[in-house]
């Protein structure tokens, strides 16, 4: 196994591509989901070390997916969750925090910073 496994749920193809490119180079295994429902499906059947959720997604928002994960996520229930958000509002963050989001990353983000955060959360040291 070795490689940590990350689920990226993001409806924008370009961002998904950016995230994948950023993290694959760092030696993570990446699974992609295009919307909230697919993200939940992936979480239901696979085990991940980290979940990156976009806030605005069709079918289910990142916060909803996170809430589900914390409640019924099974093996993934306690895994760290990064929420990508374009909204910087305190109110939304509070809601997201309540839902169990570990860290917020607002768009646009720096791939380097994100990599750092991912490493922190997965317990992998920076290579």
């Amino acid at each position: 196994m070795g490689n940590k496994k990350i689920l990226i749920a993001e409806d924008e193809m370009v961002l998904r591509f950016l995230l994948t490119e950023t993290l694959e180079d760092e030696g993570f295994d990446i699974d992609e989901a295009e919307d909230g429902r697919l993200a939940i499906d992936s979480l239901r059947y696979g085990e991940y070390d980290l979940v990156i959720l976009d806030y605005m997604m069709p079918e289910a928002t990142g916060v909803e997916v996170c809430r589900w994960l914390r409640a019924e996520g099974g093996i993934n229930a306690q895994k760290p969750v990064i929420l990508l958000t374009a909204k910087a509002e305190e109110k939304d963050r509070e809601e997201a925090r309540q839902a169990g989001v570990s860290i917020f990353v607002s768009k646009p983000f720096s791939p380097a910073e994100l990599t750092e955060i991912v490493h922190d959360l997965t317990g992998e040291g920076t290579p």
Binding site: D11, E12, M13, V14, L15, F17, L18, E21, T22, D25, E34, D35, M56, P58, A86, K87, E89, S106, K107, P108, F109, S110, P111, A112
Partner: protein, 1058 residues
């Protein structure tokens, strides 16, 4: 019986008379008939006889003739005589035979001797003839001697005898006829005589049998009438007369018996009359008695009536004592009635005056009495009398005005006495002069002074009542007591009245005060109403409540914005709780109000959201103010300022910002992310290529997004301006479609109408719309190869006429799901599903398209079936262009000037076609084809559209079909830049007048030129040439006139330099 008898009598007389005259008539007829028969018979015989006589005479004449001829023959022997003799002889024979036949009927014997002689004569005649013929004269003579002559004589005699006989017979018959004629005359006379006799007989009979008995009966009746006793013997008459007689007899008898009866009756009546007279006497006696009784009764009634009147008067008086509230009315009524019921003549009431404003008269002077104001001076008199006490005359009646003053001398005594002694005082005095004048012949007057009291009690009289009667009158029993009682009643009532009057005065005073108060109150209410109105018209809910929370006042808006539950008298916090419960609002607002009230905070501000489930929410800013009110004291004012709209605007803005930020951050994140990766890491070239193209794509997307976003922002802010010009939608669509044709393997198939599709619209915006729609069509039909673009003419919903152009763009791609259709034109809306995720887009395109189409006055719609494809179409009202064929085309943007030119040319019977933009005019020329060229163009150089007059002129000069149309430039020309114009030249630059235009126009239409002829209002060749060349028109030649120049333009090809 009698009628029948009378009838039979009449009949008998009639029949008898008729029978008698019938017998006479028949007898007369028989006699007449007999006479007539006789007469007829005689006349027949007479005719017969006459005829026979004539025949006899003829025969005689014929005989004599024959004899004559024979003798003549015998004498002369001539043959002709012989013939005549023979014929005469034949005639005679014929006649004789007739005669014989006539006689044969009767008296045949009369003719016998003649017949015998005739036979002989015949023989003789024959012999004689033979002898004559033989000439044997001798024999003849012999014969004649022997026989002939005698025979002839005999025969002549015989004939004469017969004639005579006949004549006698005729005479005889004539006599008989005459007799008969006489008879005819005699018979009618006899008949007349007989008739007279018969009538006489009849009259006699009638007189005897009818008339005399009738006369007899008549005289009998007369006698009976006279009362005589008549006996009629009816026996000789068995007929009606008899019964008449019998009747008369019976009648006479009846009358006799009736008369006897009447006499009896008369006797009886006489007896009765005597009896009646006796009774009458008795009745008269009784009548007298009754009359007497009636008089007694009438007297009693009179007494009673008087008593009743008295009682009535007392009654009225007593009513007057209590019924009237006004003192004046009371005195007038009550004292008037009192005088009447007590039998007094005059009355006066004097009382101490309670009115301090009145001052007693000082130095009252006698001459003032002569004044013409009796009341005034009577008043004065009393003041003088009771001066020190200020007495007042309240009432006076029955005293002469002037005599009131005359009391002054003496009556002060009894009046004062009565007041002082507090009891009535009576004085007898002689009548004063004036009084005597008024009250006639009385000598004395009796005055009685009664003390009267006011409401203050009976201890001290407050004045007196004076009652006066003139003359000495004996008073009836008990009347004095009654009068005294009445007067006591009056005095009592006066006290009551005065007390009441005082009370009334007080009550009036109270009323006045009350009215003042009411008025004050109304003023206050008005003030409050206007305050309330002001408060009600405030658009913020106001609630004033006491520190305990009781609502003292709230305005109308409170009920509308929150709930009508908030009203005066309720507890504010409780009402809030109740409202929350009613709408099912989970809220602590009630509690918050309580806290605010308890803390007594002044100027506290708070937010309040009124969010009833199922209803639109309202947001308020609430602030509490402490108010010190005169009326209410220390109160709290709650103001609810409605900030729902602000809230909504904020919410929308926030939402928009968040959406925009999300939309912008996504491409930004990609760009920055990849750029950073490339900067920080060593990337393989092929990967770098991929990253860079991603960056490029995202940057493009970002740029489009920003562009769209700004467009939309501009539209929404109402800042998008549309420059509407006539344009050919067909050309424009074809141009844009060509740009998209072949992209992503899609063919754009155009279906366009023949004619130009002219609309008035903004070309740039339309291009944007078409770009958006075409790009969508291609984007959302991945893998397909065709997009259809069609323009067609259509009727709008409201009208039947096909008055709009519809551009439809149809793809055969993904289609739009039903649930997405309603939001399709919303901002940032993108149909979300995995198929489309790869398709880039801002979600603003259709929103922009919709805004723009609607901004251009068009309409957008779409239909779509999922998996089959979508069609978006927009409609624009079409612009009808007039045909310029054969007309004068006026290109002028100034409406009034254009109208003027139009009118002028129209006045010359030209058809005029006016445009204010070169674009429109060009489109109209295009639509009209080459052969529909105008006769003349009048062109203003500066126009409403984007193209100028020069553009138009260039187009005309370049077009083969329009090249020959003459043009007049109607506006003044500015010299081209850099042209050195002389000062005088400036003055020459002036536009044509309308009249000049008209003249020039006519002239130019008349002249024929191959190239474009252009008239300029410039009398300078140099300037004209410079102007034309500046605007890209080559000049072939210029002809300068005093006021203008006509240039011939070199022909160019279409699309030449512009």
């Amino acid at each position: 019986m009698i009628g029948k008898a009378g009838g039979s009598l009449q009949r008998r007389i009639a029949y008898g008379t008729m029978a008698l005259f019938l017998v006479f008539g028949l007898l007369l007829a028989a006699v007449e008939w007999g006479v007539h028969r006789q007469y007829t018979d005689i006349s027949t015989q007479l005719d017969d006889r006459i005829e026979r006589l004539n025949l006899l005479q003829d025969t005689e004449r014929a005989f004599l003739e024959s004899v004559s001829y024979l003798r003549a023959y015998a004498a002369y022997g001539r043959e002709d005589l012989q013939n005549q003799a023979t014929s005469a002889r034949a005639d005679y024979d014929l006649l004789f035979n007739s005669l014989s036949a006539a006689y044969a009927a009767e008296n045949a014997s009369d003719i016998d001797p003649l017949a015998e002689m005739n036979g002989r004569f015949e023989t003789y005649y024959v012999d004689a003839l033979q002898l004559i013929a033989a000439g044997n004269e001798d024999a003849l003579d012999a014969l004649a001697q022997t026989q002939g002559s005698a025979l002839v004589r005999q025969m002549e005699d015989e004939f004469s005898g017969l004639v005579t006989q006949q004549r006698d017979r005729i005479l005889d018959l004539s006599d008989r006829g005459r007799f008969l004629a006489r008879m005819v005359l005699i018979v009618p006379g006899a008949a007349l005589i007989a008739a007279l006799v018969a009538a006489l007989l009849l009259i006699r009979y009638l007189r005897k049998s009818f008339i005399s008995p009738v006369v007899q009966a008549e005289s009998a009746v007369g006698r009976i009438e006279r009362g005589e006793i008549v006996e009629l013997d009816a026996s000789p008459h068995r007929n009606e007369i008899g019964s008449l007689f019998e009747g008369i007899g019976r009648m006479a008898e009846g009358i006799r018996s009736r008369q006897a009866e009447l006499e009896n009756n008369l006797l009886h009546m006489e007896e009765q009359r005597e009896e009646l007279e006796a009774q009458n006497d008795e009745l008269e006696a009784q009548n007298e008695q009754i009359l007497e009784q009636r008089e007694q009764l009438e007297r009693a009634l009179e007494r009673l009536t008087r008593r009743e009147e008295q009682l009535e008067a007392i009654n009225t008086y007593q009513r007057a004592l209590v019924g009237l509230t006004e003192l004046g009315d009371f005195l007038r009524e009550a004292i008037g009635q009192l005088i009447f019921v007590t039998g007094r003549d005059a009355a006066m009431l004097v009382m101490r005056s309670g009115d301090s404003r009145r001052t007693p008269a000082e130095g009252w002077r006698a001459d003032e009495l002569a004044g013409d104001k009796p009341e005034a001076y009577a008043d004065e008199a009393f003041r003088a009398r009771f001066g020190e006490e200020r007495y007042e005359l309240l009432y006076s009646s029955g005293y002469p005005a002037s005599s009131q003053a005359s009391f002054v001398g003496e009556p002060a005594g009894p009046a004062l006495q009565a007041i002082a002694a507090n009891r009535p005082v009576t004085r007898r005095r002689p009548v004063s002069g004036a009084e005597a004048g008024v009250h006639g012949a009385y000598e004395t007057a009796v005055d009685t002074y009664y003390p009267v009291y006011d409401g203050g009690g009976q201890e001290r009289p407050a004045g007196f009542l004076l009652l006066t009667s003139y003359g000495d009158r004996p008073s009836a029993d008990g009347e004095e007591e009654l009068a005294a009682g009445m007067i006591r009643q009056f005095i009592g009532a006066l006290v009551a009245q005065l007390t009441q009057a005082e009370r009334q005065r007080q009550s009036r005073e109270l009323e006045r005060l009350n009215r003042d108060l009411e008025k004050e109150k109304r003023n206050l209410l008005h003030q409050r109403d206007s305050t309330q109105q002001v408060i009600d018209s405030i658009h913020e809910a106001l609630i004033v409540c006491s520190p305990s929370g009781e609502i003292l006042m709230c305005n109308r808006i409170t009920g509308e914005m929150l709930d009508p539950i908030f009203c005066s008298g309720r507890n504010f916090a409780d009402a809030m709780d109740e409202m929350n419960e009613k709408f099912g609002i989970e809220d602590d607002s009630g509690e918050r109000i309580r806290v605010a009230l308890d803390s007594g905070l002044d100027g506290t501000r708070a937010r309040y959201a009124f969010e009833p489930p199922g209803r639109s929410a309202r947001y308020f800013e609430v602030y509490v103010q402490k108010v010190e009110d005169v009326l209410w004291g220390d109160v709290r004012l709650f103001v609810f300022r409605d900030r729902t709209e602000e809230e909504e605007t904020n919410r929308l803005r926030d939402e928009f910002v968040s959406v925009v930020s999300h939309e912008l951050r996504t491409p930004l994140a990609s760009i920055l992310g990849f750029a950073e990766i490339m900067l920080n890491r060593t990337v393989k070239p092929e990967k770098a290529q991929k990253y860079l193209s991603t960056i490029h794509g995202e940057a493009t997307r970002l740029s489009g997004l920003i562009g769209d976003f700004l467009d939309l922002q501009r539209i929404e802010a109402g800042k998008q301006t549309y420059r509407a010009l006539p344009l050919n939608l067909k050309e424009l669509t074809a141009e844009i479609a060509a740009q998209w044709d072949g992209r992503s393997g899609h063919e754009v198939r155009l279906t366009l109408p023949e004619e130009p599709c002219v609309v008035r619209s903004d070309g740039d915006r339309l291009k944007q719309v078409l770009h958006n729609l075409l790009s969508n069509a291609i984007k959302y039909s991945p893998g397909k190869t065709l997009v259809d673009c069609e323009i067609r003419r259509e009727a709008s919903k409201e009208t039947e006429a096909e008055n709009r152009w519809v551009v439809e763009i149809r793809d055969y791609g993904l289609g739009i799901p039903e649930e997405a259709k309603p939001q399709l034109f919303g901002k940032f809306y993108r149909v979300d599903n995995s198929d489309r995720r790869q398709i880039g887009g801002t979600g603003l395109g259709l929103a922009i398209v919709k805004e723009m189409v609607e901004g251009l006055g068009g309409e957008i719609s779409f239909d779509s079936t999922l998996g089959v494809g979508s069609a978006f179409r927009f409609a624009l009202p079409l612009l009808e262009l007039p045909s310029a064929a054969g007309a004068v085309l006026v290109l002028e943007d100034d409406d009034s000037l254009g109208g003027l030119i139009e009118e002028a040319f129209r006045g010359e019977a030209f058809r005029v076609c006016r445009f204010s933009e070169a674009e429109t005019a060009l489109l109209a020329l295009e639509a009209g084809n080459a052969e529909a060229a105008p006769q003349l163009c009048v062109v203003d150089l500066s126009l409403a559209g984007e193209q100028s007059g020069w553009d138009f002129i260039r187009y005309l000069a370049a077009d083969e079909g329009l090249r020959s149309v003459p043009i007049i430039v109607s506006s003044a020309l500015d010299p081209p830049a850099g042209y050195a114009e002389s000062e005088s030249g400036k003055y020459l630059r002036k536009p044509f007048t309308v009249r000049e235009l008209l003249e020039l126009g006519r002239r130019m239409i008349a002249s024929v030129h191959a190239g474009t002829e252009l008239a300029l209002p410039l009398p300078s060749e140099a300037l004209a040439r410079a102007s034309l060349e500046t605007h890209g028109l080559g000049v072939r030649q210029i002809e300068v006139e005093p006021d203008f120049a006509i240039a011939e333009i070199e022909s160019e090809d279409k699309g030449g330099p512009t």
